[in-house]
Structures are given as C-alpha cells and as structure tokens.
Symmetry: C2
Subunit: 338 residues, 2 copies
C-alpha cells in the first residue's frame, strides 16, 4: 500500500524492511574512521581484476552477495535488482550483475543512486510487485578519475573544493518482513540547476537539490529536523554541507544540529588528504550500508533522513559550457514502522 | 493494484492508461514509411540548438511537451518523469527535462529505455504512487555516432550488419483513466550475454535478451503468440530479428507471423542506406509513440507486446575485451483492460 502525502512524498505501507545490507571498500576507506563497519575490504584497488572498471563491477557483485548472505537469502529469492553507477553506460552495474539472472532495472542518478535504487526497491515492495528487491551502487576513484578528469598518471593538482571519489559499493536487500529498520517514506527529487559550472565544486552544485528535497519532505509531512536523529546527505562535502545549511536557514529550517554528510564521515579530513571530503555513488552507498544501518540495527539511532545527491553533468556537457544540474532523493528510514 | 503472475510478470490493476503520446524525429526519419504518424519533424539535425547533444535534449523536451498537450495536461499534473538515453551520464534527459520541475527518476537501459520507462510509469500509476507519470527517451544519430564510434567527419565505412541510430524521441503520458490503450502487464528482463563482441552487430547481441523475456512472459501468462496482433521489438534490425525468431523456435515458440521490429519499420531499407535497420532509444520510442499507438487508438490493432531491447556495453568495456550484455523489457499493451 502506497499513499501520497502532500505534493511530493510517498508513505509506504506493507512495511518494507531492510533485511540485509553490505558494504565493500578499498584500502584508503579502511584507513578512515568507519573501518570497523565495512563488510569487505579490498587489499588494493583491483579486487583481483585486470582493470579498475572490472574491479568496480566486482565490488557490486560482492556487495550484493554479502548483503544476500547476511539476509539469509539467495538470488532466487530476489525479484528485482535496481542498480546504477557513474561510469559511461553504467557498465559497473551491467557487468557486475549480469550473472545473477535477476530482473534488472538500470538507473542513472549519479551519486544519488543509493537513495534512488533504495527508493525503487522499497516502492516495488510496498506496492506488492515483489517480496524482495535489491538496491546497489558503486564508485571507484581510479575509474571515475580517468573518465571525468585526467589520466591518473598525469597527477593533476586538486583544488581545495575538490572531493575524493570513494572506492566502494553498498547494497541493500529490501523485503516484506516484520522487523526494522523500515523504509517509511520516499521523496523523489526534482532536478535543480543554480548555474554552477565548476567541476571541482560539485558539493555546491548539488546542495540546492538537497535543500529542495528536504524542504519538500518537511512541508509534506509537517515534520521538523528535531524529529530525526540524523539528516544524512550523500557527498556534499565541506563546501556543499555548509551551503545546504545556509540555504535551508533562508526558509527558517535549521538542520545544523542534525546534519551529517557521508563524504565527511568516511575519511579523516585532517589526515587523509581528501580536501573537501568523499564523493561518488559508493560514498553514500558504503556509509549507509555500514555505519548507519549498523547503528540503526543496534538502536543507537532510530530515525534517519537519507538524502543522497547527484550531479547530472558529463564531460561533454561541461565542455559545451553547460552548468551542472543536481538532484537529491530522500528516504526516511526508521526503526518504527508507520 | 499489482499482482504477480508466474515468476516474472506483473499484472497491473487500476488500469493504467496511455493518455497522451508524442514523437519527434529528424529529416531522415520523415523520409521513411512512417512519416505521416510523427508529431514533430525537425528541419535538420540541430533542432535550433548549437550542438547535437543539446538538440537531443530539445527533442525530449518537445516530445514531453507535445505528449502533455495531446493529453490535455500540464507539467503540474504529472507526479513523476522516468527518462534515460544513450549519452554518457544520460545528459539528454537531465538537461532536456531540468526545467520541467517534475520529480525525476533517471534510468539507464540503453535502447530498452522506452519499455523500461513505460514500465516504471505504469507500475507507479497502478500502485497508486501517482495519478499521472511521463516516460520519455531519445537518441540522435550524430551524438551517438561520435560517442560510440567515430567522428562523423571521418566517414567510417559501415558493415552490412550495422544499424543506423534513429534521431528521434518518444514520450508517453500514463494516467489512471478510463480509456485505453491500457498497460496491462509488464515483464522486466534479466541481463543476457551470449558472448557476442561485434559492436557492429548489436541486433545479434540483443536478440537472446528479447527471446528470454518473451519466453518468460508467455510461460507466466499461458498466452501464445497468436493472442497478439503484434510482437514488436525495438531495434533488432535484420540480423537480430531473424535470430530472435530462430531462438524462440528452439523452444517451440513461433512468433514469425506476429513479429515486427521498430528498426525495420521506421526506414525504407531498400532506399535509405541504413544497412540492417534503425537503432537507438529513439527508434522504439518514436515508432511506439506514432505508428503503433495511433493504430491502437483507431482500433486497427488491439493487442501488442512491446519488447524494447538494449545493449549494455560502453566503448571502455569493449576496449577491455568484454562481450556485449543485452536486456529486454516487455510491456503488454491492449485496448481491453484486465
């Protein structure tokens, strides 16, 4: 059962639950503060594969496999898999998941994909279209860097506003079960474009989308930031996070005491030379599917607004002088079902 | 109301209807046999824009605008838009649709996107998640050619099995209304990879996916090819269409009398020098949203299985020696609601 609340928010009945989740990261991420929460840590960036792109596919496959085994399920129990990534034509997902033989819904939401895929899996489950569905995404520093910026060998100097693409993957199994955490509500975002053109300042390009989606959700539901333990964005980093708080304050919404950002949680910004923080689909994916869901399961936090943002440009659009459109999707996770 | 039939098929209650549709094509497509069915025909490949990529965005925007006006609706009546395309990071969709301010679900299904987006819009409508949703996709010969193959100036020689990317867009408005055509069932496909590596023979790479999805649908529903006026694939072209019929015959399924392919319908293969036929997201998009839905509306055809196929490789995956995974999603369209 799905019902609409206000203009943009869906309330999900049938209590879609998170029945399994897993994260895969590489060495650099394991040297950050969340190390103990990750399920699989690669010895290097290759995960036993010949290329970085194949390594990224491998991470998705491993994340799904681990999430399924933690849920006590097999691929035969899953009716749909929702997946996407940053690479051209989303090859991490297609090649990583082709062997699973699960009906596949390919998504493109850039770094918002963890929220987008989790939304779709939850909506399908609440609608009775399936009993179990999987959401998965990934990013890889090396495959992203050479696709979007420069060959790694070039050693380009990074600006202070630049973020570091997380090498990681996160996967969630959603099912019609009785135990939480639950996916209670979903707000799908609208594309926002404030005219920002600086490829090295993606946080600023995405912050307006996060602000818009959070505002829509709070208006639709009549809830306040204080009603949540955490309002968690995906990869706004230092610059985008500050901007998000400021943008919402203009509408008298103060999230400063509740806001956290996966891009700021995953690395130690003092020690790890990542400038403005982590980014990439795998940033929000791996943080949600480790630190956050672990702490929801053990009851340390109970109500989380997960708002992953994506920047929808390509190198071609930027070369043609276009600005960077952003999008943000919101998933309201709670240990209490509605 | 959504119910599962067999292992893979969804039956959609609440009769999601096609309440509007529109197609946009360029000059070459208007010189083919379906000319009179298209809504908007560009004077050239630029549609008034500076670049081919921006022209493709423009086509999507125009297709959505026209479909809405034919439905007697405005953007304010639409709760979700489902969109995707072939370009890296799906920029045709993001830039084409950013001004609409409709909650946006980005998809990547390569040339299967018309079926994927129509499936999602119909499932959301049947689930009560919205009253109206839009599905849209596009492709452009020039933007695809220079991204996937060679600069146009190079004048590469094309093999006989090569297909011609359609410059076109198709958009459907789905709603909870009383009149047909209806979207009665949906079968989301699984990725199939038979090891084909020839980028100039995409039809052969995609045919196994179409065969698998059609077979799953027929098994799930107990229906036979004779129950339909048309089994319509997206862009298998000459080679892939022949292969599809042969593959299904191995399972004693004979679709030869009912099968048509959008890639073979849109061009005059004798006169238009397109080798094995049309291809691209815009191929199935523009043919569905013109010739097919027009003929369903006037009752000339009543039951159509629309099966758009996609090839999920990228230039990077091909350069790394990978084969081409295919996918096919099926939408059962009928003038009779279930």
């Amino acid at each position: 059962m799905i019902s609409r609340i206000g203009q943009y928010t869906l309330q999900l009945g049938n209590a879609p639950s998170i029945v399994g989740f897993a994260s895969v990261v590489s060495k650099k991420e394991s040297e950050g503060p969340l190390c103990k929460y990750f399920d699989i840590i690669g010895d290097d960036d290759h995960f036993g594969e010949e290329t970085w792109e194949k390594a990224e596919s491998r991470m998705q496959k491993d994340a799904v496999g681990k999430a399924l085994s933690k849920a006590g399920l097999t691929t035969g129990d899953i009716q749909y898999i929702f997946a996407g990534d940053l690479l051209n034509q989303c090859i991490s997902s297609a090649y990583g998941l082709r062997d699973l033989q699960i009906p596949f819904v390919g998504l493109y939401g850039a770094c918002s994909t963890m929220a987008e895929s989790l939304s779709m899996a939850s909506i399908f489950t609440a609608a009775g279209a399936c009993t179990n569905a999987v959401a998965v995404t990934s990013s890889h520093f090396c495959s992203a860097e050479r696709q979007f910026r420069f060959p790694l060998e070039y050693g380009g100097v990074r600006t202070p506003t630049a973020q570091w693409t997380v090498t990681g993957s996160g996967s969630v199994v959603v099912g019609s079960h009785l135990n939480g955490p639950y996916v209670n509500m979903v707000t799908i975002g609208k594309i926002q474009d404030m005219g920002i053109k600086d490829l090295n300042n993606m946080g600023a390009a995405m912050a307006p989308a996060a602000a818009d989606t959070i505002k829509c959700f709070l208006e639709d539901t009549g809830k306040k930031p204080e009603d949540f333990d955490m309002i968690l964005t995906g990869d706004l980093g230092l610059v985008g996070s500050e901007l998000l708080v400021k943008l919402l304050l203009k509408d008298d919404i103060d999230i400063s005491k509740k806001h956290q950002d996966c891009g700021l949680l995953i690395y130690d910004l003092e020690k790890q030379d990542v400038h403005a923080g982590g980014s990439g689909c795998g940033c929000s994916g791996s943080v949600l599917c480790s630190y956050i869901l672990n702490n929801m399961q053990n009851g340390a936090i109970n109500d989380v607004l997960f708002v992953a943002t994506g920047a929808l440009m390509s190198t071609t659009s930027v070369q043609q002088g276009e600005s960077i459109p952003g999008i943000a999707h919101l998933v309201y996770l709670s240990n209490q079902s509605l």
